[in-house]
Amino acid sequence: MLAYILRRLLATIPVMGVVAIFVFSLLYIAPGDPAAIIAGDLATAEDIARIHRQLGLDEPFFLRFGHWLWGVLHGDLGISIFTNLPVTELIAQRLEPTLALTLMTLVVTVLFAIPLGVIAAWMVGTWIDRGVMIVAVMGFSLPSFVLAYLLILGFSIEFDILPVQGYVSIREGFLPFIEHLILPSIALGLIYGALIARITRASMLEVLSQDYIRTAQAKGLTNNDVLMRHALKNAAVPIVTVVGIGVALLISGVIVTETVFAIPGIGRLTVDAILRRDYPIIQGVILLFSAAYVLVNLAVDISYTLFDPRVRY
């Protein structure tokens, strides 16, 4: 078991290595000279040359990459061009809203989508099954920001039940915290939920047609026991895989959702950075999100062993 985890952990190193090279190249080939920006309008050619030497911009590609990687591994993501603050600090300030939004969406969506998929598979061909599948197809087709505006229009402007936008920290009260996250979570989670529900249904349908399910029913187990203990556990591997892969949808979605709902998180930071071409921030965000994505999928890989003892360590 430990050897398996260790092997999987080692396998993520080349993947993150490619991400690191890509992200570094981004700054390397980015238009504009950071030294000239730092030096300002009144700088002479010598000033710029001096800053070049100070920042090590004269060095060859791989030496610069080495220095940069060394810094990243020590939590140094560089300095933001626009604000002149460390990128690590800027990201840390914005981490809480993004973490709250994505975690809440992830948990709530999974709790809704898997039972929906199970029910659809159990009642295959009925109007409940059709309904779930129609919602799933809609979920794939309705972009999160369009859905976000429809939700705001319905719940905040027309009926005034939920706040239009903004973020309230959990420290300022649990109820306002949740209230501000409900609409963003729905907007962000629909496509993720659609994906999970669809795979759950497909995977359950496959398992429910197996002989051992008929045996379980024949020996008089309750529907609940058949579904939960026999079917769902055997259908789990593809479902968990999609829960992991789908996190990419959450990460992509969070950028737009935070923009629509004016949530001061990492997504908002990214959008501001793009408009100002603040490359160190864009680099930092890509590294962070990719690392999070890789770690989630590593956890998913390891979780296979819980569901399926046949997975060899």
């Binding site: 890509f22 197809v137 239009v164 669809r198 990419a248 890509i286 999100f289």
Partner: protein, 291 residues
């Protein structure tokens, strides 16, 4: 095993093929029809009662939908109806462009890596790395490097989609290589490229075609997202993402600025997804039963 009624009952006569098709595959036909309408709108936009989508008219700014301005006007007094109709051109161009480019490049990479072990280890490592960057984020990063243009949007989204196609094709090629008919072809001394062309390539068409439709749908959403956050199509070009981005600050008083392009975008993506589902069911019955 869910076998739909329609699969069992074979049609006796094909008198009315259209009626038959609608009865058997209502969603696919609906998707195709919707897609044709959108393509028609994109092609014939100038003749559908539109005015110049970029001509400003400050006197008529922010008008609600009316008989004269069907979808209202935006903050510069531009006609939202005309802008939305012209926006179909951008979305369909980007969707189609990305689908064709990324499947072509992905196919090439997948075929090569499926056959050559050395390139496989190197190239697939790179693909794995690129795949661990969420696609929208990767496209954003690439767009941050270049100037805004429709071509660059297509290239950026293509690069973020290629790894998935390459992986799919490689998987298909690896499993085909073990098939008796390929082994037989190799044993009979068929030249390598002939084997590739006659035996491998035709078998990759079905999964790639299905994948291409899904890529087309997701590319249209990505283009809208990029434009919406200001990293996509240049703001002067009326794309659905741009129209929504401009409507953002007026949304609470003028929701139509976002609702109309939003509905068009959603319907187009829905149409492509329905066609994709239909293709998948038709081309790969085994997969269809599972999904």
């Amino acid at each position: 095993m869910a076998v739909a009624q329609s699969e069992i009952a074979a049609p006796v006569a094909r008198r009315n093929w259209l009626g038959e098709a609608i009865r058997r595959h209502p969603t696919v036909i609906a998707g195709l029809a919707l897609l044709l309408i959108m393509a028609g709108i994109a092609i014939f936009a100038p003749y559908l009662g539109t005015v110049d989508p970029i001509s400003v008219s400050p006197v008529h700014r922010l008008r609600f939908p009316s008989e004269r301005y069907w979808f209202g006007t935006d903050a510069y007094g531009r006609d939202v109806y005309s802008r939305t109709l012209y926006g179909a051109r951008i979305s369909l161009t980007v969707g189609l462009g990305v689908a064709i480019l990324s499947t072509a490049i992905g196919l090439a990479i997948g075929l090569v890596t499926g056959f050559s072990r050395i390139t496989d280890t190197i190239v697939m490592r790179i693909m794995d790395g690129l795949m661990s960057i969420p696609p929208v984020l990767l496209a954003i990063a690439l767009m941050a490097l270049t100037k805004a243009s429709v071509e660059n949007v297509v290239i950026a989204i293509t690069i973020s989609e290629v790894p998935r196609v390459a992986r799919l094709v490689r998987g298909v090629v690896l499993s085909l290589r073990e098939q008796p008919f390929v082994e037989a072809a190799v044993a009979a001394g068929t030249p390598f490229f002939r084997t590739l062309w006659r035996h491998i390539l035709p078998n990759t068409v079905a999964p790639i075609l299905v994948q291409a439709t899904y890529i087309c749908a997701s590319a249209m959403i990505t283009e809208a997202v990029l434009s919406f956050i200001g990293a996509g199509t240049p703001p002067q070009i009326p794309s659905w993402g741009n129209i929504m981005a401009e409507g953002r600050s007026y949304f609470q008083i003028k929701p139509y600025l976002i609702i109309f392009p939003g509905i068009f975008l959603s319907l187009t993506v829905l149409a492509v997804n329905l066609v994709g589902d239909g293709l998948r069911d038709a081309l790969d019955p085994r997969l269809a039963r599972r999904m």
